[in-house]
Subunit: 144 residues, 2 copies
């Protein structure tokens, strides 16, 4: 299975932050959309970082209440491992495993086209296993 299959299921809408957004804004967008990490794009729409729930909690630990007014660029990770839509899900899962990442942005011709989470991969694998099992059951019934 390719990453493009997961992206197709998630839809084309890529939510992202600007480096100059506040943590308050980031918290709102993460909560409302029920997502664990947001890619950060500059005004040229290039990926410049990723900000996760973990980065915010870490900021809260380090800065206390002041964290809420700090900027995304102060808390985000700038070294981002990415993938392409043509990559196998297995290869991306391996990248997540090696780097202990829970989110990997998908890049096409230098532009961000989506984000794949550990949950997306797991849910997709389980659904695929369920479909396969159901096909096998039907085959077994048809053959008596």
């Amino acid at each position: 299975m390719k990453i493009s299959t997961i992206l197709l299921r998630k839809g084309a809408n890529v939510i992202s932050l600007r480096p100059e957004d506040t943590v308050q804004t980031a918290s709102a967008i993460l909560t409302i959309n029920k997502i664990g990490a947001l890619p950060v794009r500059n005004s040229a729409e290039e990926l410049v970082g990723i900000l996760s729930e973990r980065d915010i909690v870490k900021g809260m630990h380090q800065m206390g209440a002041a964290c809420i007014n700090s900027l995304v660029q102060d808390l985000m990770s700038t070294k981002v491992t990415t993938c392409t839509e043509d990559e196998d899900v297995q290869s991306v899962q391996q990248k997540m495993h090696n780097g202990r990442f829970r989110h990997i942005p998908v890049i096409k011709e230098g532009k961000l086209i989506g984000v794949i989470s550990q949950g997306d991969v797991m849910h997709m694998c389980i659904e695929q296993a369920q479909t396969e099992a159901s096909v096998m059951r039907e085959l077994a019934i048809a053959r008596g």
Copy 2:
């Protein structure tokens, strides 16, 4: 594979919060231990909730800077899906899939003995696949 196999790898030390701890304390413990959610135990050591990075970010969105002084019991989820150490990893993965959970506490005789994350399950499955592939390679070489 059973949940007990994953628990054995993670070690017997179960970190948890008290309902009356502050979010400031919770942020510190989550950050220092690099974990995504903490079980909450009362003074009788019974599981009474779970607090995730997501709950903290949601609290930040809803309360603003005051969130840091709020109590774990105000933000935690009290309806917690659990599993036992005898359950198959596949069954727990299915529970995570159905409820969109990323963490499931493990209970034995009414007491909390561990927490399994989506990441633990994924990392374990990948390592198992790698071991199997390596055994197959050695077999193939041995047989010429």
